[in-house]
């Protein structure tokens, strides 16, 4: 029986003040750091624009990823195209890096299932998962298929810390340990499951230590440090690819925004706490570090902000111009072939649409 480590201490390469805690791994070159920074700024620009769209009635209920950019970016940069990504619903950065355009992401949040019809490069990725933690068992199934076929691929699944209270999380992690699955669980511990704080989700000192009960490796890292997230995910991906089994990663962050646009976090948490969390957010520290290294300037920052706005506005324009999906699509994807039993109901729906003035 293999019994693995006590979780490592919270791992961090760049402090909130932008200081290096030790030397950066070689892979994190100046170019890499700028790519990570650029992605995070772009995703934040996108995220805040989507919130604004919701406020003006042009978007459905939306779950912001404000403050979670380092987790999504670190995962997206570490994961390989052949791997399968199973998100929860604050994974805008990872989805973007895997080729799911902002327009398509807005199509999803805007209420159209075609938003889950990902392009070829992400064709096997799962769509966002609303029933909490259920995606973790799906990931175990995806990883089982890879293992059965002897493929050098892995399944990476994300969830929040609230999800780790659920049976699906434990059942899947337990199986990953027994079957030594090529599977990575990244828990975005952003301290809040809607209004319920981390300390009343579990009596365990860390989420990472839950790995021990399953006989697998567990790590806790600073989820606001894109370098720390990338480093540990890269390690776990390489490990999974060479058949060394699953990894649980707890990425400690803070949900700077409301749970969703339908939530008002001021009802249950203090300004002081949120303000303190802003001091640890992921983008500012990397910007500070890049400045210190001479890799960044005010002019570069202005130019980046401009580019991000343009890219996001173009995506918004494309989203707002999307046609309504045909009515038949609501009936035609239930089964591979529409059963004749639905023909009459489809005709009724068609008549209703016509009566409402649609086509």
């Amino acid at each position: 029986m293999q019994y693995t480590t006590t979780p490592r201490q919270q791992q961090q390469f760049i402090t909130p003040e932008g200081e290096l805690t030790g030397s950066l791994p070689e892979a994190m070159t100046g170019d890499w750091l700028q790519q990570a920074y650029t992605t995070m700024v772009l995703v934040r620009t996108f995220d805040q624009r989507v919130v604004a769209l919701q406020r003006t009635g042009q978007m459905g209920t939306y779950a912001s990823c404000l403050g979670q950019e380092a987790i999504g970016t670190g995962i997206g940069l570490a994961l390989q195209p052949d791997d399968v990504f199973l998100p929860y619903y604050r994974d805008q950065a990872t989805q973007y890096l895997r080729g799911v355009s902002f327009t398509r992401q807005m199509q999803y949040w805007g209420g159209d299932e075609w938003g889950n019809h990902f392009p070829d490069q992400a064709a096997q990725d799962f769509p966002n998962c609303v029933p909490i933690a259920t995606q973790v068992t799906h990931a175990a199934g995806v990883a089982s298929a890879m293992k059965i076929r002897g493929e050098k691929r892995c399944a990476l699944v994300t969830c929040g810390e609230g999800a780790t209270s659920r049976g699906d999380f434990y059942e899947a992690m337990n199986l990953a340990g027994v079957w030594q699955l090529p599977m990575i669980m990244v828990v975005n511990n952003n301290q809040w499951a809607i209004s319920v704080p981390r300390q009343i989700q579990t009596g365990a000192a860390t989420i990472a230590q839950k790995a021990e009960a399953a006989g697998i490796e567990g790590f806790q890292v600073d989820g606001n440090d894109v370098c720390a997230v990338y480093d540990v995910v890269r390690y776990a991906v390489a490990k999974a690819h060479c058949g060394k089994g699953p990894t649980l990663i707890e990425a400690v962050s803070y949900r700077l925004g409301d749970h969703t646009t339908a939530d008002d976090a001021t009802r249950y948490r203090q300004h002081e706490e949120v303000n303190a969390a802003w001091q640890r957010e992921p983008i500012k520290r990397l910007q500070t570090y890049l400045h210190q290294q001479g890799l960044w300037s005010e002019a570069k920052e202005q130019s980046l902000q401009q580019q991000c706005k343009q890219e996001v506005e173009a995506a918004v324009e494309a989203y707002l111009a999307l046609p309504e999906q045909p009515l038949a699509d609501l009936f035609d994807y239930l089964f591979e072939e529409r059963p004749r039993q639905l023909d009459h109901q489809y005709e009724r729906a068609q008549a209703k649409l016509t009566a409402l003035g649609g086509e």
Binding site: F126, T137, H138, E336
Partner: protein
């Protein structure tokens, strides 16, 4: 009718070659043959569940599969039904064809979230990008004096969910053919096996790998005076009742619904248009059951042909009694004869 208590030795199928000679088998043996045949035909078929590999399943449905196809394709899972359904969704999304066994229907409720929110919706949610060709098998129903929580018939739970096929075989022949078709189906199928029938009857079948069509009823007996509609173990009581009615000069048509969702109303409506009377017999509790749906639809679609309101003979709306009183809950042929006579006497 007598139950065969004895477990017959299985005829292991010939490697790859479709059988040209018939075998006389029970339903559980027919299910085993179908699983062997499906696994031999398609390397993407995997079997998983509790006790299915080394032990061959508590009812022996999966006997010999692990020995023949190996531990990578025949998987003993940890004891976790939610997990079994969840990993089946993940496997199916990777184009495997998982056939998952839930040991008894009484333990199937932990799978509902995955069956309802994911298996039934994956194709629809992704507009065809991902799909879920999985089969969830479970023994269901009463009549074998099983422990508490082992005898319920809760098929209606699944029938209510758009995107799930619900299939119930009632004989060795249909168990073999319908299971093969369920495994080949590109979408999720809940395959509920009336365990009372597992070893109750034997039939001659050809292990030829040929499936039987889903989404269609099977007319087992032609008749003129009324239509008896049932599925699962109740089919056998219904056939016995039809035989008794024949002695009284009453000619009953007997239809095995077989696929409970989606419903083949064409066959049912055509029969009722001929007979003018319908009695729906189900083992499950009546309230919101499949019999209620069939009755309502017959009333909607064959009203002008009906000479009496559609009648239902269902379980009581109480929990399935523990084994001492289960016979009181389950209908026997005599109950069906009585209900049929009452229906014929109706104005």
């Amino acid at each position: 009718m007598g139950m065969h208590e004895q477990i017959a030795g299985l005829n292991q199928p010939q490697n790859g070659e479709p059988a040209r000679t018939p075998q006389v088998v029970t339903m559980i043996e027919a299910i085993n043959l179908a699983l062997h045949r499906a696994m031999a035909a398609d390397p993407n078929v995997v079997v998983l569940g509790e006790d299915v590999a080394t032990n061959g399943g508590v009812f022996r449905a999966t006997l010999g599969l692990k020995q023949r196809f190996g531990h990578k394709r025949v998987l003993d899972t940890p004891l976790a039904e939610t997990l079994i359904a969840g990993i089946s969704v993940g496997m199916a999304a990777q184009q495997l064809r998982p056939v998952a066994e839930i040991q008894f229907m009484g333990f199937i409720y932990a799978t509902l979230e995955h069956m309802i929110s994911h298996a039934a919706r994956l194709r629809n949610r992704t507009r065809g990008r991902l799909s879920c060709p999985m089969v969830l098998r479970a023994p269901y129903g009463g009549g074998i004096h099983a422990p508490e929580h082992h005898s319920e018939s809760t098929e209606a739970l699944f029938c209510h969910i758009p995107g799930l096929r619900v299939v119930v075989p009632s004989s060795p022949t249909r168990a073999y053919g319908l299971l093969l078709s369920a495994i080949e189906d590109p979408d999720p199928v809940v395959f509920l096996e009336p365990k009372r029938v597992y070893r109750m009857v034997r039939q001659e079948i050809y292990d030829d790998g040929v499936g039987l069509p889903l989404d269609t009823c099977y007319t087992l007996r032609q008749g003129e005076h009324l239509t008896l509609i049932s599925w699962g173990a109740m089919v056998h009581e219904t056939l016995a009742a039809a035989e008794q009615l024949q002695h009284q000069g009453i000619s009953a048509e007997v239809i095995d619904v077989a696929t409970l969702s989606p419903l083949d109303m064409e066959t049912l409506v055509a029969s009722v248009q001929k007979t003018g009377r319908a009695l729906v017999i189900q083992e499950a509790a009546g309230h919101c059951g499949v019999a209620a749906e069939i009755s309502a639809r017959l009333q909607e679609q064959a009203f002008s042909s009906l000479r009496a309101p559609v009648a239902r003979l269902t379980g009581f709306d109480i929990p399935m009694p523990y084994l001492r009183r289960e016979n009181l809950y389950m209908h026997q042929a005599g109950d069906i004869v009585q209900a049929a006579v009452n229906l014929l006497e109706a104005p």
